[in-house]
């Protein structure tokens, strides 16, 4: 196989913090960011809770030094925030003479502006151009100064994870030296109403893997990692945070919005990722679940865990109980959390868990585990259309 790919920087904004340090602090304090909707203009503010970032677009723009009058989509602002942090953390100049790329996953693009101005093009017609997924990535890339290779993926809720997978292969096969990869999504009325129409939104705080779970909470944010080639690290001598050691993408081919009851797709993708990483099933120290809190996902993902790990399931949790389901951003944000698990030697607990699902009979991590031996983290991202992706992060 081609050369190794390392992670040298992380950046994240979510309901539990506007940078990696704040996110880590909330994870350690077991503080959820899910609560009352205050910024998204929806009539369901009192019916559903969400992992909303409590900063207005004006505040986000000012924080970034961008003129709020530009009225950029919220997704663009979130994407720039996390991507800039990741680049700063990795310590490189995007306009150096190396081959740098920017690869992102999203599911809403500029929808927040589209739904606001769709019947008011006289007030603002910028949404017509900013609506598309690729446009948001492009706006963010222009702002951070990456020009050579920029692209966008959409595989529903595994978009961010597939962006990291694509970025990893671009480096492995020598097409690029460095890739900022991850995902972004802002809350929008469109997605809130879409998930509501599917009857999978919980009115209360989500309880992933709990017997009495009621569904998911939507969230918003962005998460990026900086991927670098082994050759580049040998030249610069930079010490990476960890390694992206394994990945897989499979399709459940079962139903557009439902996972197979035996977790076929999830099982296949986890197994393939572990094989790709060249490790054994028993080498996985922590699983950051997809764990949305819906009846269907958690049971299906749980069945896949039993099939793959038997009676020796490693510690696992869903960090969606802190930030909600951030859709296209989830794979990116949860990649950042997986990196933090390795660098901080921490296993983050699942919040609000009470009773195991009867068919499964096992429980996620309920208390923070410090000084943990975390050498290999498995991160799952599953999406509508049966799009399943697993990534494995390993110590250097």
């Amino acid at each position: 196989m081609a050369g190794k790919v390392y992670i040298t920087g992380i950046g994240v904004i979510s309901a539990i913090g506007k940078n990696a340090a704040e996110n880590l602090e909330s994870l350690k304090k077991q503080k959820t960011g899910i609560g009352k909707i205050e910024i998204l203009e929806t009539k369901y503010r009192n019916d559903f809770v969400a992992g909303e970032i409590k900063l207005t677009n004006t505040q986000l723009a000012e924080f970034l030094g961008i003129n709020p009058v530009l009225n950029l989509p919220r997704t663009t602002l979130l994407a720039i925030t996390a991507a800039k942090e990741a680049i700063l953390n990795a310590g490189f100049d995007p306009q150096d003479n190396l081959r740098n790329g920017f690869v992102a996953g999203t599911t809403v693009g500029g929808m927040d502006k589209t739904e606001k101005y769709y019947y008011h093009t006289d007030q603002n017609s910028a949404f017509i151009k900013s609506h598309s997924f690729g446009n948001i990535t492009e706006q963010a890339a222009e702002h951070i100064g990456i020009t050579q290779y920029v692209t966008t993926l959409n595989t529903a809720c595994s978009s961010g994870a597939n962006a990291i997978l694509h970025g990893t292969r671009l480096i492995q096969q020598g097409l690029l030296d460095r890739v900022v990869a991850g995902g972004f999504d802002a809350l929008s009325k469109f997605t809130l109403n879409g998930f509501k129409s599917l009857f999978i939104l919980s009115p209360d705080l989500c309880t992933p893997f709990d017997k009495n779970r009621k569904g998911l909470n939507l969230g918003e944010g962005a998460g990026f990692v900086v991927l670098e080639s082994e050759e580049l690290l040998m030249k610069t001598g930079k010490v990476p945070l960890c390694r992206l050691s394994g990945y897989a993408n499979t399709n459940d081919a079962f139903h557009q919005t439902t996972s197979s009851p035996n977790g076929e797709g999830a099982y296949l993708t986890m197994e393939k990722a572990i094989i790709r990483a060249g490790i054994k099933v028993s080498d996985i120290d922590y699983i950051n679940l997809h764990g949305t809190g819906t009846d269907n996902n958690d049971l299906s993902e749980g069945m896949a865990l039993i099939r793959l790990f038997g009676n020796n399931i490693p510690p696992f949790s869903s960090t969606k109980s802190y930030i909600g389901h951030t859709l296209g951003a989830a794979g990116g944000i949860e990649a950042v959390f997986s990196v933090l698990s390795i660098t901080e030697k921490l296993i983050f607990p699942n919040l609000f868990f009470r009773e195991p699902i009867e068919e499964l009979g096992f429980s996620p991590v309920k208390d923070l585990i410090s000084d943990a031996r975390v050498q290999n983290v498995l991160s799952n991202s599953f999406g509508f259309g049966g799009n399943n992706t697993s990534l494995i992060f390993s110590t250097n």
Binding site: K129, S132, T257, G385
Partner: protein, 352 residues
């Protein structure tokens, strides 16, 4: 490793489906180009038909014919590209939500958005392999093609289904006409070549091909290279970019027999093609294809279908030629850009 284009199908605004070559006679469309749709009843029962929107049906039917042409039961991976996905369903859900002030909504049009097509094909063919969708404006299809090359190099796969699709609706047409992206004056697809006004002439289409890691007697072409340069506003740098890519394949610009450019009727945007083609590829044949399909984010997937057919028959209809330099088509280059962004290049070679 060579990657062979084993099958290529397109549903387009011309009479091209299934398995027909480049039309000698052009169907004329006013203002924007809509597809000539196949008879879906031949492929699906009424229950299946009701469950899918037009773009999903077209995508599936196009994929079915491409796989049939390739003689493959099931691809090892499905990699697709779209600029905006299912626009009609996005509009429907948006209108329902806004009209009812977030009332009780049916989920169908929400679900059938972007990645539903690749997923539906996976369902139809029970394809559990790698499946992704790229959605990056006019680089969506090239991103998918590039990812298919990465996937061939990285996994034990022999056949990949790759496609590009986009649809135009009256509503979307009017919105973009309003901001000058599409022509504000009445026009037809025949105006693309000689346009002296800004704004492109939009269209739509669905194209699928089957890429294979082993040769087959009926192969259209070898996919030699796919490159994307996201931002570059210097024509000099673009020329250097071309020369470097060709050099890496042991070629010089004069080896290119035909350059298919992405002329779309936008006078300002099209100037760039003329300058680059006349300077960098002055001894090559020049052609175009968007007068057949219109401009859309994944129009280059039609462009690749066009190039495949041109190579196979060693012929390009005169309506698609921009100069008189006709040569045997051994190397064909497809170049597309969007106002100096998303420079995309696909290089095809005649199989030996």
């Amino acid at each position: 490793m060579n990657i062979y284009i084993r099958a290529a199908q397109t549903i387009s605004p011309q009479d091209t489906f299934p398995g027909k070559g480049i039309p000698e006679n052009i169907k004329v469309h006013e203002n924007y180009l809509k597809c000539i749709l196949p008879d879906f009843k031949k492929y699906f029962n009424p229950i299946q038909l009701r469950r899918m929107n037009t773009l999903i049906k077209s995508g599936n039917v196009c994929a079915i014919e491409a796989l049939k042409e390739a003689g493959i039961d099931k691809p090892d991976a499905i990699i697709t590209g779209t600029g905006l996905g299912c626009v009609e369903d996005t509009e429907r859900f948006l209108h329902n939500m806004l009209h009812t002030n977030e009332g009780l909504l049916a989920p169908t049009s929400f679900i059938q958005s972007h990645n539903a097509i690749g997923a539906q094909i996976a369902l139809n063919f029970d394809c559990k392999g790698y499946n992704v969708l790229f959605a990056h404006k006019t680089a969506s299809f090239e991103s998918a093609l590039l990812d298919s090359i990465l996937h061939f190099n990285d996994s034990e796969v022999s056949d990949i289904l790759v496609g590009g699709f986009d649809e135009i609706t009256l509503e979307n047409y009017n919105l973009k006409k309003g901001i000058g992206q599409f022509k504000g004056i009445p026009s037809t697809n025949l105006d693309i070549h000689s346009s002296i006004s800004t704004g492109s002439i939009p269209g739509e289409g669905i194209s699928f091909c089957v890429l294979s890691d082993h040769p087959f007697s009926g192969d259209y072409a070898i996919l030699e290279s796919v490159k994307i340069l996201s931002f570059c506003s210097s024509e000099e740098s673009i020329k250097e970019w071309f020369i470097k890519i060709l050099f890496n394949h042991g070629l010089v610009p004069d080896n290119i027999d035909l350059v298919l450019s992405g002329l779309n009727g936008d006078f300002e945007n099209d100037k760039i093609y003329n300058r680059i083609l006349n300077c960098c590829f002055k001894n090559s044949g020049h052609g175009y294809y968007k007068h057949l399909c219109g401009e859309y984010d994944t129009a280059t997937s039609f462009g690749m279908w066009f190039a495949c057919n041109a190579i196979k028959r060693n012929h390009i209809p005169s309506h698609s030629l921009l100069n008189e330099k006709s040569r045997p088509l051994n190397h064909v280059l497809i170049y597309n850009q969007d106002n100096m962004k998303n420079h995309c290049m696909i290089l095809l070679r005649r199989p030996s």
